[in-house]
Amino acid sequence: MTVAGFQIPDRRVAWRWARENLFDGSWNTALTVGMVVLIGVALYGVGNFVFASAEWEAITANRKLFFIGAYPRDEAWRIWAVIYVLAGLGGLSWALWSRISPLLAIGGAIAMIPVFVFMAHGEVALLTLGSLAAFGGGYAFGKTPALSGRYRNTARTVAVFLWIASLPFSWVLLDGVPTRLWGGLLLTMVLTVFGITIAFPFGVLLALGRASTFPVIRLFCVGFIEIVRGVPLITILFMAFFLLPLAIGPERTILFGIPVTGVDTATVQRALAGIVIFAAAYLAEIVRGGLQAVPRGQTEAAKALGLNTFHILGFIVLPQALRAVIPALVGQFISLFKDTSLVLVLALTDLLGAARQVSAQPDFIGRQAETLLFIALIYWIVAFNMSRASQQIEKNLGVGER
């Protein structure tokens, strides 16, 4: 049976395929049977653990620790405010640049069910529902006739500015609580998102500097990139922790709107500085690849029109270079998201730190399997969605590309 060129194997075909590939000869038959048994045992083991012997108490009793660490409950409204703003903005942007297919909406709704069953109870459930409503509201607003029609381009520009503004806004709001109390998924997300977004412009500048015709600039950029890439992140984190205060001084110093040092509260900021340095070097190499992928004829055509260097970079070279490396950029984003778990060495309680704390609690001593499985699931959910989002962005931007 063929539908539009696709073979749909019926039972006979499947059986023949199995016979030719799985059971051709006694050696392959033995292998197949052996593997089936092994997989079965493994599945049984995991299933038995997850559904029978595991004490998920360790998770449910520590929900707050996993998600926000020591952030005080009374101040949690700050986090919710940030979530609401980002959810609304996310819905708006989704509407402005794309649309949500019914399939995706249904899938998303189904995916939310376990969240409400296992994670969000009481007021948290209400607040979570509220943030979904904020997303929907933003989406509906973006789909109003005015915004999806006449004012679409203006709305898109405004949305981009709102996203940029949302970063300092979020930080200031969250910063009402000393950063040493931040933890769990909150801390992981803060380190990742701020790390990447602050590092990004530096990465682009480093990549451009590396391609510069001024030897001093080029040498500095090459030196920075190669030195940072030659040192493990964990070392950079330690250096940021111990050397940065020496370099910048012990007083409270403001860098890019973020207080970087100042007595004992600054561990998160120092870790962030280390992550920024690390990410900038890697992003620079990715962007460099993108710059090299833009044919020389593009710059020449732009020059021939009388465009100046900044116009050429901003309108011709960077848009093409960055578009070409979106998958690599998202890959870097995802790997940084996971790498932030190294801040554990600075005694910060990120997602991994939370897991370790829980398995040290008297009630849950030795419950590593549960906690690690749980955070692995969270890491996976976030990373998976990032990767899906990147494919979506690529598709949306891909219009008219070669």
Binding site: E300, A302, A304, G306, E401
Partner: protein
């Protein structure tokens, strides 16, 4: 203008008396390799000059020195009264007055046809959006593809892309147009649509330097003809001179190969 002499085979277009391009003893090295070995050429207003010559003879390098995509190492180049050198303050302004069309089109693939044409209008000429749009539409009509305004370059045929590239260059209202083998990357059936646009442009009195091996175009549109080889001008003259009575052995050999 009263001083202008009649020229061109059809006798309609008037070639000016003023040299809008003056190149004297231009030399260019790429490392140890000398690509231009003393090129002297002047081009008058509204003149159409065709350059031919074997591959690697320095044709591209020479016309690229005229909008300073290549910096020459020796000699002088004066474009519309401005000498090109490193002291030049306003290179962008000079460049915006010299349009260039490339063999590979070099359209901006991430921008629509309209944006390709209006980008420099907005940011170099500071046109308002509506004015830039009008200009783009006018030029697209002139090159015969107004209906393609919202497409992306990849959605067009080669001939259409090259016509957009010509429209893009013309949008800056250049005084001079440089063409570097504009039809060499095209399928044969698309060559004529680009040549038609160029012929029409020549008739309206645009100053043009065209590197091409299209004999038909050269015969009809060229006022003067240059033959390059190994970085020097081997022979120059009117098209008749070339087609009926070339003097140099190298010219004869080359012409016999491509005719």
């Amino acid at each position: 203008m009263t001083q202008d002499q009649m020229s061109g085979r059809d006798g309609e277009k008037r070639v000016g008396t003023r040299n809008i391009i003056e190149a004297r003893d231009v030399e260019k090295w790429f490392g140890d390799f000398q690509a231009l070995r003393g090129i002297t050429m002047s081009v008058k207003e509204r003149e159409v000059v065709v350059i031919m010559g074997p591959s690697g003879s320095g044709k591209s390098t020479f016309i690229r020195t005229i909008n300073r995509l290549e910096e020459h190492d020796k000699g002088t180049i004066i474009v519309d009264g401005v000498e090109l050198n490193n002291d030049l303050k306003n290179l962008e302004k000079i460049r915006s007055e010299v349009g260039m069309v490339f063999q590979q089109f070099n359209l901006f693939p991430h921008l629509t046809v309209e944006r390709n044409i209006t980008l420099a209008l907005s940011h170099v000429r500071h046109f308002k959006k509506a004015d830039a749009h009008d200009m783009a539409m006018r030029l697209l009509e002139r090159v015969g593809i107004p209906e393609q305004v919202d497409k992306y370059p990849a959605q067009l045929s080669g001939g259409q892309q090259q016509r957009v590239a010509i429209a893009r260059a013309l949008a800056m209202q250049p005084k001079i147009m440089l063409f570097d083998e504009p039809t060499s990357a095209l399928d044969p059936e698309m060559i004529h649509e680009v040549l038609d646009v160029m012929r029409e442009l020549a008739e309206t009195g645009m100053t043009m330097i065209v590197v091409t091996h299209e004999m038909g175009f050269a015969r009809e549109a060229a006022d003067r003809f240059f033959f390059f080889d190994e970085g020097v001008i081997v022979e120059e003259g009117t098209p008749e001179h070339f087609f009926t009575n070339p003097q140099e052995e190298r010219t004869k050999l080359f012409l016999s190969q491509i005719l």
